[in-house]
Point group: C2
Chain length 329, copies 2
Amino acid sequence: MSTTMRDVARAAGVSVATVSHVVNDKPGARIGEDARRRVHEAIEALGYRPNALAKTLSEGNSRFIGLVADAIATTPFAGQIIHGAQDEAWRHGFVLLVANTEGNAAAENDAIAMMLEHQVRGILYSTWYHREIDVPPPLQHTDTVLVNCFAADDAFPAVVPDEVQGGRTATEELLSAGHRRIAFVNTTSPSPARDGRLAGYRAALEDAGVASEDSLIFEAAPEQEGGYGIAGAVVASGATAVFCHNDRVAMGLYDGLRDRGLRIPDDVAVMGFDNQDVIAAHLRPPLSTVALPHYELGAAGVRTLLGLEAPASGARQLVACPPVLRESM
Amino acid sequence: MSTTMRDVARAAGVSVATVSHVVNDKPGARIGEDARRRVHEAIEALGYRPNALAKTLSEGNSRFIGLVADAIATTPFAGQIIHGAQDEAWRHGFVLLVANTEGNAAAENDAIAMMLEHQVRGILYSTWYHREIDVPPPLQHTDTVLVNCFAADDAFPAVVPDEVQGGRTATEELLSAGHRRIAFVNTTSPSPARDGRLAGYRAALEDAGVASEDSLIFEAAPEQEGGYGIAGAVVASGATAVFCHNDRVAMGLYDGLRDRGLRIPDDVAVMGFDNQDVIAAHLRPPLSTVALPHYELGAAGVRTLLGLEAPASGARQLVACPPVLRESM
């Protein structure tokens, strides 16, 4: 039975990433002399030989890009990140390997170890909703791009949706349609989306010379039930248009407005966010919204990983959220 | 630069699967003598050495199971197939490699070749909705289980949802609630779901001694717009309950019933199918439905692949679709 990189890592008391690193002599890696020595000792003691394929790949012929995702493949939401990454990888002669870990740390480490052992060209690490993450330590040993997430210290290149522009665009569309009393139903969950969309809403109002009123800003659970429950308060505010944190909230708001005999868009205009499949295009009337650019996030992640798109150093690369206008405004 | 299995395949004019097969001397494989000779000649001419990892794995230590999917990871529907397969693979010490190919034949062949080259224990081939498929030829050279799909000649073990039982269960739930005039809004798209759910609907009525009336069976596009459009005809039929082909149709029907001043479930009971995330639990009232067992399909696929669950030879393994009762009936 051959010795694997994992056996060496265990014997040396280091991570598989460190072994990969030492074996492939990756330039720029910061491996302590002690760890390096232990790895070499373990390699000798166990008779480990790096496999031929791995050597080939480390010489620059890797045809794989790894995508480690929390729940992208299994939630009905951000799957187009995978589609965009696949198409872009394919365009440049790479095959995308996807590991969906459900946020399980053991599964995550195992998937990363497998990818490093197979000498992927690099790894995209991605989350199903936009958020700050703790980057798994093994990712420090390979080229990594964060997609739809970012590190607190921005130590890794990251590609994320432009929430501020998205909130601004949604509000500007309602302003262009002539609305001045525009309510915003934000989410109760702390997130970059919550802060960014609110900032964009305020900025658009300010640019249009419309005073932002706290009495027009609401918070609700980010799903249908939240939108339905807030409908009474929104109607009482005298708003003629409502920008909802997401399409699910807009769907619930539809029912709440209908219960009160109000017509969309004649009595109240509604704008969503996400352009979520299954819902947005199929509500009555079809919902105007702002799209989360999932496909483009995946594609831009691959381009950044391959060095085809240079991220401004230390900064997050923002991808625009385009408006998708239908009949609710 | 090392020679890869792909180089050998190209030189010998055979598939990567055939090379893998010859190199690993897989028992039971049907490789012509001529092809086998050409592979050996190419191996010698090119100086190909099977890599150490692959040899280890072919000796029975493979830690990977491949999942080749059409669009499961990117449609907001069947992602739980991946979740179920992952959990089950993980439970038995395997890591799942997912390749989502969007039905692109080139991507599919490349993903399969990669998996064979890395000596996966076997491959699950899966589709995002239940249908008959043409099995990609390279899959004949490894252990393959079809998930949510099947071959016309049933030449491969397949794990699929029990559509007949699902249709029967939906109808039985409505019968138990006292309904006798039960409409069925079926899909216009030919599929195992269309035939199976209709057969189950008819069987349940027959068992209950209720005559099946063709005037209670409707067809509509399998989405919200179809359900909304058929609402008038359903109401005119005098049905007190409606079984919808899927939850999206039920969502559209809700709007159509509401437009006519009818309350759910007091005036008309509604039953869906799929238990689709985003919709089913969040309609008003929350929708009673029958769940497609996506998680269980993935898990059962892995168990079958690992020989832990023996499929009846030549037959499709049916997974039950359980009822999920909420407030619409």
